[in-house]
Amino acid sequence: DTAVSQTPKYLVTQMGNDKSIKCEQNLGHDTMYWYKQDSKKFLKIMFSYNNKELIINETVPNRFSPKSPDKAHLNLHINSLELGDSAVYFCASSLINTQYFGPGTRLTVL
């Protein structure tokens, strides 16, 4: 009964490729997020969606495009991958006060 799930958990790819990370939550939450955790373990918000609508877009390169087909899903598509995109990407969801995180996707760009 995974509350917030992400696929894949590991992603290794070459520079210049396009890749997607999928996120699904079965908690009935209205709001979903993408966070990036860099090599120094620092976590920072990238995007936030509420009821399929984008509400927060931090200073993220436009190579990153989130897509929310419905309230339970928030996918992250990354174009033209660069070495600096290597990180762990976390999806999270919340209803009111507390955010629940997915297991993370470790992206390695070679």
């Binding site: 373990k41 976590l43 918000i45 936030s48 509420n50 006060n97 507390t98 995180f101 993370g104 470790r106």
Partner: protein, 115 residues
């Protein structure tokens, strides 16, 4: 902008002892929430404890408790009777109270538990 500072990059504690992790934050808002998340080597982000700013009483969850000093903007985590499974990165986080705003994280404290 809100910031969260964890001044201890690493801490260690003997098994069964008590350890306190420090966190300070900066905000001009009065309605907000504070959290401690645990990230073990599995990298899963696990909610440890939550504190609403409007509540004066410190939150507790079993062996975990906080010392919330609103005027000082301090939010420390106390782990009692430390266990080997407590070894992890601990992140302090802040969230503005209105709406589903994102979390602002500190840089984390790596806790080691010595048997």
């Amino acid at each position: 902008a809100q910031t969260v500072t964890q001044s201890q990059p690493e801490m260690s504690v003997q098994e069964a002892e008590t350890v306190t992790l420090s966190c300070t934050y900066d905000t001009s808002e009065s309605d907000y929430y504070l959290f401690w998340y645990k990230q073990p080597p599995s990298r899963q982000m696990i909610l440890v404890i939550r504190q609403e700013a409007y509540k004066q009483q410190n939150a507790t969850e079993n062996r975990f408790s906080v010392n919330f000093q609103k005027a000082a903007k301090s939010f420390s985590l106390k782990i009692s009777d430390s266990q080997l499974g407590d070894a992890a990165m601990y992140f302090c986080a802040y969230r503005l109270g209105s709406g589903n705003t994102p979390l602002v994280f500190g840089k984390g404290t790596r806790l080691s538990v010595i048997a």
